[in-house]
Symmetry: C2
Subunit: 576 residues, 2 copies
Amino acid sequence: MDKIFRVNMTDLTTTVEDVPAEWAGLGGRALTSTIVATEVDPECHPLGEKNKLVFAPGLLSGTAAAQSGRMSCGAKSPLTGGIKESNAGGTTAQQFARMGIKAMIIEGMPKEDKFYSLHITKDGVTIAEESELLGSGNFAVIDAMVEKYDKKIGVMTIGLPGELKMASANISVKDPDGKIRSHGRGGMGAVMGSKKIKFMTVDSEGAGAVPIADPDTFKKAARVFAKAMLDHPVSGEGLPTYGTNVLVNILNEAGGLPTRNFTYGQFDAHDNISGETMHDTIVERGGSPKHGCHKGCIIQCSQVYNDKDGNYVTSGFEYETIWGMGANCCVENLDEIAEADNIMDDIGVDSIETVVMFGVAMEAGILPFGDGKGILRMLREEIGKGTPLGRILGGGAGNVGRTYGVTRVPVVKNQGIPAYDPRSVKGIGITYATSTMGADHTSGYTIATNILNVGGFVDPLSKDGQVELSRNLQIATAAIDSTGMCIFVAFPALDIPECLPALIDMINARFGCELTGDDVTELGKKVLKLEHQFNLDAGMTNKDDRLPEFFKTDPVPPHNAIWDFSDEEIDEFWNF
Amino acid sequence: MDKIFRVNMTDLTTTVEDVPAEWAGLGGRALTSTIVATEVDPECHPLGEKNKLVFAPGLLSGTAAAQSGRMSCGAKSPLTGGIKESNAGGTTAQQFARMGIKAMIIEGMPKEDKFYSLHITKDGVTIAEESELLGSGNFAVIDAMVEKYDKKIGVMTIGLPGELKMASANISVKDPDGKIRSHGRGGMGAVMGSKKIKFMTVDSEGAGAVPIADPDTFKKAARVFAKAMLDHPVSGEGLPTYGTNVLVNILNEAGGLPTRNFTYGQFDAHDNISGETMHDTIVERGGSPKHGCHKGCIIQCSQVYNDKDGNYVTSGFEYETIWGMGANCCVENLDEIAEADNIMDDIGVDSIETVVMFGVAMEAGILPFGDGKGILRMLREEIGKGTPLGRILGGGAGNVGRTYGVTRVPVVKNQGIPAYDPRSVKGIGITYATSTMGADHTSGYTIATNILNVGGFVDPLSKDGQVELSRNLQIATAAIDSTGMCIFVAFPALDIPECLPALIDMINARFGCELTGDDVTELGKKVLKLEHQFNLDAGMTNKDDRLPEFFKTDPVPPHNAIWDFSDEEIDEFWNF
């Protein structure tokens, strides 16, 4: 029987509890958001004693289903002030699921100024004081744990920015190869830092296989599902070949590649940082264009990026990071961006928030546009060392904007707007505006239909159909985020008729239940409404579902498009 | 006939306009808030082109009425994100009134990165480019303008923090002696900086006397009003002798003197910083315990504070500043606090926001509690020079809290909570929570009735009657802030029956109208509701009418009181 592991950091005790009946059918985001909404006071200080940090593997995590290795992490966000779910690959979702950990809830806050580590086994959690690794980077923590245990040990860790509770701090997760995956957005690392936990190790020794109610049906459905992944041109070809960075040239062509802190929609040097250039560079230097973030991934959108001498630089090198430091900060050198990506992994800051922030910092005159070396220096010497300037930068784009009096600050709910200009790709603007998570492309990825012609086509420059598109995708995504599936299953799910039924069949076969497509849609709606209510209870209103003023006043070339949705049109989103 | 002066900083033009009929009966706060609510988009960026900076003298400013020399300054606040009115003494209210300037509205924003100065005469405003005094302190600006014009020139100016748009930047106003008064709260200096105006000069040459409809009645009423000021023990004796700093020992005795960033309610070294000690020190060093912030002030709560060698250090040296750097930062040396007061005047930051901020900075470990010399250094070398640390600090208490992950951050609507602990003086807590201005003691000064037995007595430690007390005082204050009267007229107005009728008689005699006491109350209500609606339209909700969490969880000695109002009890405030 699955259990809830509960860790109380105030009195340093841990318990293993039965799963309440009302949580039994939930996993991933549905479960973390339900627990946060049930147990966390929406008005509490996100870095105070009353916030809770919750981890939950998805419903299908730990099974043989392709793409099912995502772990959800939830809390009240110190960045947005609202609810947050941030999911990541790595090994922990599968370990938790196999150990029967339905969720782990970390609550309270130590009274003393000491840090701790958690060690998680199938029997429970033990807490140990930690001093040796304080201030260390995430790679050092992972190396030390692999040394102490073995290569299979699961690790979740924060760097100095997390210890210092910077709002852009993320939680880094060891992947099967000892590289880093991240619960990136919303400052979950700061919440972990506020609980004074430097790292957690997960030892799944003795854990069995995940029980499957109907193994034959499961196997059959899993095969259909995997085939759909491989058959779709995006998940089966584009992503494996070029990674997510396939999007640089596509968005540049569409005029939706935000450039120079969202001043332009195209970047002259797009070829220098494109997925095509990256692929050739990787191959030429003996890296690997394919790499999975978790065991069982068949898309393999990650990669191993080496330097000129063939030495490892980074992996999990995503489009949004490359766009943000590239086009948005006008840095033309892909090697510098790769190096920054590695440093961000090591110090533990969200690479999206951080690159959006650097665009604002450049606008503020803290460093010049195009200064890639300046970014590297500031990551290492300022954010990485917690200097006053580092604290400002580590506070994210909104914090830099407030502290330097900048008005062109691309954030919604104080979270940095990622790599798609909402003026020229209007559907994603609706997602940014309305997402319970703050600006977040993954929460309703309209780029699929606005730009990639997946799931049909909705003209990115017209307002028509965007609210409905974003709504449908956000509902579907909330459900997918609850299964432990990676978001890219949405591509075949939208285009290949057998895909979504196979996903539902797997859930039914796993638990012996009889969910229909409508049930899954209902789950997605329920999750969104629950999260929305939490945000309202935390003090947000529909005024928080708005894009920054400059999108409405400053047209973006080449289409000279502006953000022209009325408040009423945006608020239609919540009519479901 | 009175006029509206309008300055457009986008195209650098100025106009003189007739007063719209609906603004005719308004002055001071009623007028600035009406103009801001009418002309400013509540959702605009406070440092952007759409915000407007409005100045309006009170209804009685420029007359011979005692205490009537306050100028109101309004805008959308970059500190709170809501509406703001901040009033100050000095010479400009009387100059504006005599020149027939009902209000001055500064709008737009220069496209080029250049600064300007405004020169205001009875005929209009001229705009000149300014480079020479950029970066200068406020005293240097005032000295330069006195040199350029003469001693009578009115000056409003910002220091470097204002130029850099720090949210604690204030607007400094020259008083009759060339000292500084401040539109202190809410970052009005940052708004002036965003309009790229370094300073404004007011030359009232050729201005006549303010027209009085019924001079005899006015004179008679003014005499009764002035007598009430002098007869009341607070305005006639306490304030003239000890200044506002008379309150240190009183609040310490009441257990409501927030100490060590709001951890305790009493300060061991209170005698070192008390009004009594200050008075004796001033007299001993040849300073002056009495000084008025504007011509016609008969309370004279300001002073001239000299150093050990008899050299001028500061004036307008208020209780809240002394409390904040003293008890709240545990600095025991009054000379250090006086020096800090002078630096804050010179660089142009709100001395309340700044001292509350230093309490949070000490909690964050940026400098140790008690380190007065550290505060002086940070004012001069960090805030005063706009370093990264200075930007963090100049962003105010909330900004330091966010940037350093501090949970004990005494702010409401992001504005620092002043010198009275809301747990042990509960009426003022209702004012902090509900004021449209953010935490602001002056907007409904329940200390009068909770602590000073003025206007009756409401037990500070009980919840009974506090909402009604705060509501009545906030309504009255909104009206008084519209007359140009200093807030201390409230003491005699609450206790001496002839005082308030005399004030109304003066307004009626000035304008030839027939206002009643009820009309004045209605005006106060109307102003509050107008401001409240602006804040709601800006995205605030009743959740913004809350004190920080720690007041509810951490009891404050010596009474071990907590903040125990329910949300429903607080929200009762708006039922009028």
